[in-house]
Symmetry: C2
Subunit: 194 residues, 2 copies
Amino acid sequence: MPALPKTSDEAVIRAARVVLERDGAAGFSMQAVATAVGVRAPSLYKRFPDRDALLQTVAEDAARDLGARMVVADRAASTPAALTAMARAYRAFAHQAPHAYGLLFSASTPPSVEARAAAAAPVLQRLASLVGARQKLRAARLVTAWLHGFVSMELAGAFRLGGDVDGAFDYGLATLIAAAAATSRAPAGRRAGS
Amino acid sequence: MPALPKTSDEAVIRAARVVLERDGAAGFSMQAVATAVGVRAPSLYKRFPDRDALLQTVAEDAARDLGARMVVADRAASTPAALTAMARAYRAFAHQAPHAYGLLFSASTPPSVEARAAAAAPVLQRLASLVGARQKLRAARLVTAWLHGFVSMELAGAFRLGGDVDGAFDYGLATLIAAAAATSRAPAGRRAGS
DNA sequence: ACCTGAACACCGTTCAAGT
DNA sequence: ACCTGAACACCGTTCAAGT
């Protein structure tokens, strides 16, 4: 007599995200997730090999979400406008789900390389159209590094010297887009400022 | 009859850093630290209130180390040269002590605001001399966000699309320094590209 | 098939007792 | 003063037994 499933992979992942945002990555427990979906902790091991695997699945899920938001933000007229919209959507996602965001670049349970690449794809494409395929990777690393750095420092409370943080974000974004665009007009291989 | 101390705060912190780099933040255990200094775990609670307090002390220690390296790198002729040297020293520190570096911007056990500020002070000062006091905070947030983002994405394995990562670092650094310097020549309050 | 209670290992932490 | 063993709570994980 097969036992009726009391939950599903999707429900577990959804509950795990709620628990993660409530308790943080360090406080994240299988018991809390199990309680949230109405089963006992051992049942979760029928669906996920261990806690890290569940956290990694949550990371993949979050990466997918982020990618979807990038796609929506990408529906903008000009390339600079689309890049600005995507950067703001990226930051908004991190503010809404800080612990899931933290998983995206975690040492222990990062999402798969493919999941990360998929989330970043829209940005890459817009940058390619801005700076050309040749400079694309460099420009992407410049912009995404700044974006991740800004957002994660902000989440870590590292911007506490006062001042206008929103303004600093807009300033950084505009400066970077302008700098990347300027680089594309320079001879290939040249490094700005050197 | 007083019992002879078998260890010291400093020895515990030193051992904790070794254990941290070996086992990672998630795997970091009081037992491992205790074993490393030759006592039993309960003894550590005479020195540090709990595991998080020990990790936070390690974060402070790491911030101090990083600050010291910044000061050394700051002994350079020109301001752009000093900024380049500091950025490279920063990245080298993160490569040498990735888990201690991770603590510097962690959600659960960050260093004190003062410790972080002290480590960043030399960079702030050089940027002030480059862009003026008025633009200092913005420029600092631009540069440190990129720096932290680049380094932490690198550590998280997010730069796996190939290409020259060292080159991307030099390119980003030169681009940012040039962009920050250019901004300082624009009217105050103006945002580049807008 | 999926769920459960019981059990085990491991860790953080407390505390009374040792020197 | 500082150290220790014993104990407790809590969690991850396994597994035999239930339906």
